[in-house]
Amino acid sequence: MMNNVNDRQSRSVPKRAALGLTALAWLPLLLGGSVTAAEPAAAPATKSAAKAADGKDWAPPGGRIGYVLWDEVSWGLRETPNKEECPNGFNIGPREQFAEEFPKDGKKRTLAETQLKREAAIWDPDTTPDEFPFHEATGKYAIGVNLDGKDTPEDFESDDGRKGIDNQLFRVVGCVRNYRKEGELGIITTKWRAQKPFNRVTFELTGVDSLKNDPDVTVSYYRTLDTLLAGPTGNYLPGGSQRVDTRWGKRFIISAKGRIVDGVLETEPFKEILVPEDGMGDPAINIFRSAQLRLKLTPESAEGVLAGFIDVEQWYYAMNTAWATHHAAYGQASAASIYKALRRLADGYPDPKTGQNTAISGALDMKLTQVYVIHPESAPPLSAAR
């Protein structure tokens, strides 16, 4: 018997006709009253699927699997134990540059001539030759993707032998302490990425017949809304859910075709991938043009790079707004010098008017963990890892 719970009258009606003819007064209600339970709309069911043991081929249920970004290892820096990529050492930072430019020589200088001049160089940078030597990272190898299909002298080689790796951003920040393991950006950026919902982005693969080898998959990129599923030791676990932000995140949504070879996903270029970056409350968006993914996939995680031609002005703005002065000082990251290097080494998307490149090749070295991607007004994704 399924009575409407709100139909309290029917509950209070005496159960036995023996209570007399008074029961008949309720008859119309009993006979005609709603008998449809006021059921909340149940979510459609999920389907179970067997998860493959390690090393075996596996297809996600429904050919669909999502990965949420939680760790930005670095801006595509390949660091060697002996710092071979920085033969001239690391760059000096704003404190050292200030001390060098304005030595304590007894000479009187105004605020405008010193601090404000330096401040202006940060917030109104230019491409005039740097007054300080800038040490670019060098060497044969770098992390990244061959974005333009060419192998030119300024390109690198990957550790697994891929030629023509485009990563000029590595040359810019490879010898800046802040961006290396010695610096603090990697740790803090990951913390911000994990903790701040503003920064939540998720990739979803669809049409996946095999997570090992599939020549034709679709990769979609979304801004999503939910917190990460945290483990007990500060790590982030697979199995969480991320709802796609279709309200404010529409402009982030983009798809590209890809293929999986030996468990590694490589995509065709996305026209543009927008990566939100909120550090200290002044949010910014990094723009990756002609972006490509190269990720090693497992049912629980993905790891690899998001490479592309990164918009220089946006990247520079994000650097200055995300990081406080003390980060730049302790991390020896001189914004003015970095800007000049960025513009000098920019290698893509020339300005139609000036001919100057507006973007620099680079890569975001990152880790992602499996999530269910929840699309509004659509069937929920199928159960995985069952």
Partner: protein
């Protein structure tokens, strides 16, 4: 009953209405026939003992929230109650009161009183403004205290008693030069009164049944309210008690139906099942995070909530068959639970969820709340799960293990032993173990389909898990089979009746009249196992309000060494009426 007699579903009943006068005549005839065929009347019984029990923490807080509003929720932790015959509600009748507990009650009362008279709350909690805030105002104090004190004492209070409270408030206000602090002192005192903290039931001769005793109106109101709402009676119920309406059949039915129709019923049903399922154990549930990293503190909280939501939805919203709780695939999902179930969470909060028909999750046994609660911190336990199934769901008692159990066999380090079935096989080989384990392990092993965190699995240590088993002679091959076997086990609804009756009357089932329980069970079955109907039947039963003097435990104090005389025996409990205001 009437619906069943008419036969058919709602559509067919509608058609019958259209048949006109002939049908109406038939209905009239049917009603008369049903009257003649009504089931057996409630059997005679001894009733239940007139008890004195401690107000539980939730009952206290629910009462405070009702009287002063939901914002008045002090953070507190009352002492744990003993679990007697499967219920804390029964344990409340034998719980003692220690100095430490009194200190907790006092701290809690202080917090409540302070919040009531705070500048934020006083405009809407105190119905008048004093002439001056730094002096006593007997009129305003009386207005406030006459309103709240009866609700806290769960009975009408005499004019003299209210005047004593007012006098105390005046005295404190004058001493502290603060009207509101004066009120606060009295509220604190009321909340610490034994008459508030203890539910001391009072009996009276039953005029309809000479020689028998029944609960007096106030005690009946309190028993009803604690049963159905897990809180003290509201003003309307107290009014019915005061007018005597509660002692009439019609008046009692009206109040019970009103309470069953109230949204507060959900609070009562949640409390009942939280108690019945021993969910207070969640307060100390911990899992080894290195083994079950997805099981967090939030998971434990949500696991408890998931089952209670399912129970409320199934029993109250859908008014579905109680037994189907053990097979239903409808439940609710939260982001903390979804990773354990390996499904997607549809929202940031709770969302309705239904497992597909071929899914191994079916019914309460497959909830994380059951599988994780009855497991070890780092591994599952067929024995704990089998024991819980017997004791919690079937109201059976599994004897305690002997003191000299050799646990080394369970912790067998032999690497070739992969599954729990192999590990505990010796239980059934060893005659001294087999006696008890035979009633736990066969169904506990089928629940090995879930690990210690409650996540479904096919394998243990790379070996497929054999989930076959049997429950009281019913064979099954998997957890869904066990769920069906449990659902069809006649002990399941019987256990629900027994526990619910004991919960409602506040006395262990041992004291209950078995014939009454059989009668209630038959009614429960006849009504299609619709749980609110069981609540109604219990609340309206004579056994619920009929009481007898409990057997008093005699105590033998130490002899007076000075006089070397043996003191006389004394009863451990005084007549309850002695402490009433």
């Amino acid at each position: 009953m009437l619906q069943r007699l008419l036969g058919g579903g709602p559509q067919s009943r509608k058609k019958k209405v259209l048949l006109g006068g002939g049908a109406l005549a038939a209905v009239l005839l049917a009603a008369v026939v049903v009257g003649a065929m009504r089931g057996p009347a409630e059997p005679q019984s001894k009733g239940t003992p007139r008890s004195m029990r401690l107000l539980t923490q939730d009952q206290y807080l629910n009462t405070v929230a009702y009287v002063f509003g939901p914002n008045v929720q002090p953070t507190t932790r009352f002492a744990a109650l003993p679990r007697i015959d499967g219920l804390l509600a029964s344990g409340a009748a034998i719980a003692g009161l220690s100095d430490a507990q009194l200190e907790t009650y006092q701290k809690t009362a202080t917090k409540v009183a302070a919040q009531i008279v705070s500048e934020d709350s006083r405009p809407y909690l105190i119905p008048c403004e004093p002439a001056a805030t730094d002096a006593a105002d007997p009129q305003c104090a009386k207005e406030f205290l006459a309103q709240v004190a009866p609700l806290l004492y769960r009975r009408a209070l005499s004019e003299e008693q209210i005047d004593r409270f007012v006098a105390a408030a005046n005295q404190s206000a004058d001493a502290l030069h603060d009207f509101y602090q004066g009120l606060s002192v009295v509220v604190e005192g009321i909340l610490m009164s034994p008459n508030v903290l203890l539910v001391a039931e009072v009996s009276e001769p039953d005029p309809d049944h000479p020689g028998e005793t029944r609960l007096d109106s106030w005690s009946l109101a309190t028993r009803l309210s604690l049963f159905l709402w897990n809180a003290a009676p509201d003003a309307e119920l107290l009014a019915a008690a005061q007018s005597g309406a509660l002692q009439t059949k019609k008046g009692l039915a009206a109040q019970v139906d009103r309470m069953l129709a109230s949204p507060r019923l959900e609070t009562g049903v949640r409390a009942l099942f939280d108690d019945m399922f021993a969910f207070e154990d969640f307060n100390r549930l911990a899992k080894d995070n290195t083994i079950y990293p997805a099981f967090t503190g939030e998971t434990a909280v949500d696991a408890r909530e998931q089952t209670l939501r399912t129970v409320v939805d199934h029993l109250l919203v859908r008014r579905a068959d109680y037994r189907d709780l053990f097979t239903t695939r409808k439940t609710f999902m939260s982001p903390s639970l979804a990773p354990i179930y390996k499904v997607a969470a549809q929202g940031p909060g709770w969302t309705p969820y239904e497992f597909p028909a071929d899914d191994p999750h079916a019914g309460l046994l497959t909830h994380v709340s059951f599988e994780a609660l009855h497991s070890h911190p780092g591994r599952s336990s067929p024995t704990l799960r089998g024991k819980a199934l017997r004791e919690v769901m079937l109201c059976q008692t599994v004897p305690r293990p002997p003191a000299n159990v050799d646990f080394s066999k369970v912790q067998n380090p032999d690497g070739s032993v992969k599954t729990a079935r192999e590990r505990i096989d010796f239980h059934l080989q060893n005659p001294s173990c087999a006696g008890c384990h035979r009633i736990m392990d066969p169904m506990g092993l089928s629940m090995e389909a879930f690990d210690g965190a409650g996540t479904f699995r096919h394998e243990e240590n790379g070996v497929p898990i054999d989930t076959s088993g049997n429950l009281d002679g019913v064979e099954f091959t998997d957890i869904v089979g066990l769920a069906k076997a449990l659902r069809d086990n006649p002990q399941v609804p019987w256990c629900a009746v027994r526990r619910t009756f004991a919960y409602g009357t506040g006395t262990p089932a041992d004291s209950n009249d078995r014939r009454v329980l059989e009668y209630l069970s038959a009614e429960f079955a006849g009504q299609g196992y619709v749980f609110p109907e069981l609540l109604r039947d219990i609340a309206l039963s004579r056994a619920f309000r009929k009481v007898y003097e409990p057997h008093l435990r005699k105590t033998f104090p130490l002899p007076d060494l000075k006089s070397a005389e043996r003191p006389q025996q004394t009863a451990s409990a005084e007549p309850a009426s002695a402490i009433h205001p």
